[in-house]
C-alpha cells in the first residue's frame, strides 16, 4: 500500500473513532479539560501515523489511541501543576478509560447544552465529536473560518465556566438536544458529500459516520422520533447516488450524466421505508420535505423527466419550514426546470440576502447556468468567473472550470460564425 493511501486510510479511521475516543477521555477527565483532551488525542494520532505504517495497525486501534492519549493527558496535567498532589485521575497506573458505545451519544448531547447559542452547539459538536476543522464548519455555515474559530473558543470556555458535567440530559431536555444532533448529522453528511478541503469529490467516511449515527438514533427507543427517520431517509437517498456520482477519473458527474442504474438499490429501499416510517407522527420537519424532494429525484427516469412541479411545491413548503437563501437558490433552480430559466432568474433576483448571495459559489453558478441556457453568454461567463474567485472545494472548482472552458468554446464558435449571440430575454 502506498504511503499516501496508508495516511488517507488512517485519517479516515481516526475520524470515524474521534468521537468515541474524545468521549472516553471526557468522561475520565471532565469537560473542563476539553482543550487538553483534544491536544492529547491529536498527539495520539501523530504517534499512530509514525508507528502504525511500520509496526502494523494494532489489534484494537481505538484502545491504543485512548491509552496513548490518556498517558499524554497525565503528562500534561502533571506539567500544569507539578506540585499539586496527585489524585486518582492523575495516576498513570490507573487503567485508561474503556470505550463505551453510549459515550458517543452522551458527548453529542453534552455539546447541545442550552447555555450555548444554537450555532455554537452545532459547531462544537462538529468539532469535538467529529473532528471537523473550523474551515470545514465554516463552509457548512456559509461563513468564514475566523468566525467559527471564535465561536468554538467561546463555547468551550462557556462549558468550562458553567461547570458542565459529562452526564446524561434529563428526559424532558432530550427533544431539544436531539434536534441539534440531527442538524449536526445533516451537516456531517453534507460535508462528506461535498467536501470542503478534500481533493476527492466525496468523503465517504464522513457520510458513513453520519449514516451510522442516524441509524443508531432510529434504533434507540428514546430517540426514534419521526424527524430521525426522516433524516435517515434523506441521507439514504443521497448516499444511494454515490456509485453514480463519481467518474472513473475521480471527477464529479452531474445528475444528467449519471447512470441511474448504478444507484444503490438497497439504500433506496431503506430510504423509502424510513420515509414511510417518518410519516407516522403529526409533525413535519424540514428533513421530511428534503427527503420527499430527494425521493422525487430518485423516482425520475432522467433529470429532465422528473416531477419538477411537485419538487417546486415541496420547495415552497420548505421555505415555510426552514427559510434560507440556500433553500431559495435550489427552489429557483427547480422553478426554472418547471417553468423556464427566466422564472428561475427572477426567483434568484428576489432573494433578499444579496451580500451573502454574492459570495455563495452555488448561487453564482446557478445564475451562470440560467443565463447560459437563455443564450446570455457574457453574463454566464461573468458569473462563473465570480464563482471561481470564491472559495469552493477542489472538485467543485474543477467542475466550474470545465464549464467555464465550455463557454469559451461557445464564444469562439459564435464569433467564428460571425453571428450575434441570440438573446432571448
Amino acid at each position: 500500500m502506498r504511503t499516501d493511501d496508508v495516511i488517507v486510510a488512517l485519517d479516515q479511521r481516526f475520524r470515524s473513532c474521534h468521537g468515541r475516543v474524545v468521549a472516553a477521555l471526557t468522561r475520565r477527565f471532565g469537560v473542563q479539560r476539553f482543550a487538553l483532551i483534544e491536544n492529547a488525542v491529536q498527539d495520539a494520532y501523530v504517534r499512530a501515523l509514525e508507528r502504525w505504517p511500520h509496526e502494523g495497525t494494532p489489534a484494537e486501534p481505538e484502545r491504543w489511541l485512548v491509552r496513548v492519549a490518556h498517558n499524554a493527558m497525565i503528562g500534561a496535567l502533571r506539567r500544569e501543576a507539578p506540585m499539586r498532589p496527585l489524585d486518582a485521575s492523575h495516576d498513570v497506573s490507573v487503567d485508561p478509560p474503556t470505550l463505551d458505545s453510549d459515550d458517543e451519544l452522551r458527548l453529542m448531547f453534552l455539546c447541545s447544552d442550552p447555555a450555548l447559542p444554537r450555532a455554537a452547539q452545532i459547531a462544537l459538536m462538529l468539532n469535538v465529536a467529529f473532528g471537523l476543522t473550523a474551515g470545514q464548519i465554516a463552509t457548512a455555515f456559509v461563513t468564514d473560518e475566523r468566525t467559527v474559530a471564535q465561536r468554538l473558543v467561546r463555547a468551550k470556555k462557556r462549558l468550562r465556566d458553567e461547570g458542565v458535567q459529562f452526564d446524561v440530559p434529563e428526559a424532558n431536555a432530550l427533544p431539544a438536544r436531539l434536534a441539534t444532533m440531527l442538524d449536526v448529522l445533516y451537516i456531517v453528511f453534507s460535508e462528506g458529500f461535498n467536501p470542503t478541503d478534500d481533493d476527492a469529490a466525496l468523503d465517504t467516511g464522513l457520510c458513513n459516520e453520519a449514516l451510522r449515527l442516524v441509524r443508531l438514533l432510529t434504533e434507540t427507543k428514546a430517540t426514534a422520533v419521526p424527524a430521525a427517520f426522516a433524516l435517515r431517509a434523506l441521507l439514504c437517498f443521497h448516499a444511494s447516488r454515490v456509485p453514480g456520482r463519481v467518474a472513473d477519473d475521480g471527477s464529479l458527474l452531474l445528475m444528467p450524466e449519471q447512470d441511474r442504474a448504478r444507484w444503490d438499490s438497497a439504500l433506496l429501499s431503506e430510504a423509502f421505508t424510513c420515509l414511510n416510517d417518518a410519516g407516522s407522527g403529526t409533525e413535519l420537519t424540514r428533513f421530511h420535505i428534503e427527503a420527499a424532494i430527494a425521493a422525487c429525484h430518485a423516482l425520475g427516469t432522467t433529470y429532465a423527466m422528473t416531477d419538477w412541479a411537485r419538487i417546486a411545491d415541496l420547495y415552497d413548503m420548505l421555505r415555510q419550514c426552514a427559510p434560507s437563501l440556500v433553500v431559495d437558490v435550489n427552489r429557483a433552480l427547480a422553478k426554472a426546470m418547471d417553468s423556464g430559466a427566466r422564472v428561475g432568474l427572477d426567483e434568484l433576483d428576489a432573494i433578499p440576502e444579496r451580500e451573502v448571495l454574492g459570495r455563495y459559489p452555488y448561487a453564482l453558478a446557478a445564475y451562470a447556468d440560467l443565463h447560459a441556457s437563455l443564450g446570455n453568454l457574457d453574463e454566464a461567463r461573468a458569473y462563473l468567473d465570480r464563482a471561481l474567485a470564491n472559495q469552493s472545494s477542489p472538485a467543485q472548482h474543477a467542475l466550474l472550470k470545465r464549464k467555464r472552458a465550455a463557454l469559451d468554446e461557445t464564444h469562439a464558435t459564435v464569433f467564428a460564425s460571425d453571428r450575434p449571440g441570440a438573446r432571448l430575454s
Binding site: 463505551d100 453510549d102 457548512a140 455555515f141 456559509v142 461563513t143 428526559a171 432530550l174 427533544p175 434536534a179 442538524d183 445533516y186 451537516i187 453534507s190 461535498n194 427507543k221 428514546a222 430517540t223 422520533v225 419521526p226 424527524a227 443521497h238 467518474a247 471527477s251 445528475m255 444528467p256 450524466e257 432522467t302 429532465a304 415555510q320 419550514c321 426552514a322 427559510p323 434560507s324 440556500v326 437558490v329 435550489n330 433552480l333 427547480a334 426546470m337 417553468s339 423556464g340 451573502v356 452555488y362 448561487a363 453558478a365 447556468d369 440560467l370 447560459a372 441556457s373 443564450g375 464549464k403 465550455a406 461557445t410 464558435t413 459564435v414 467564428a416 453571428r419 441570440a422 432571448l424
Partner: protein, 90 residues
C-alpha cells in the same frame, strides 16, 4: 444498566417539532444562521442546462422562443451536456 437502556425502558419521550403554532405563524425566523446542505439542484445537477455551440444556440433560441416550457429544451440540452462531458474526459 446503560443510560440508553434506561431511557429505552422508561419509554418516556415526546418529540415536538411543530411547523406552525396555533395561529399559523411561521416559527422559524429568517436571518438566523444559514446552514448549507446536500441539495441536488445546485450541487449535483447544475450544468444540466447548457449550450455549447452556436448552431445549437440558435436552434435552442428558436425552440425557447416558441415553447417556454423547459422540458423540451432540457431534453435537447441534456444530450449536449453528456457529449461535453465525454469530450472533456478525453
Amino acid at each position: 444498566m446503560t443510560w440508553i437502556q434506561g431511557l429505552r425502558d422508561s419509554g418516556r419521550f415526546m418529540g415536538s417539532y411543530k411547523l406552525h403554532d396555533q395561529t399559523g405563524r411561521r416559527l422559524t425566523i429568517r436571518g438566523g444562521e444559514v446552514i448549507d446542505g446536500p441539495f441536488i439542484e445546485s450541487k449535483d445537477a447544475i450544468g444540466g442546462i447548457f449550450i455549447i455551440d452556436a448552431a445549437s444556440l440558435d436552434e435552442a433560441a428558436e425552440i425557447a422562443r416558441s415553447c417556454p416550457c423547459l422540458d423540451l429544451q432540457n431534453g435537447y440540452m441534456e444530450v449536449r451536456v453528456i457529449e461535453v462531458g465525454r469530450t472533456d474526459a478525453h
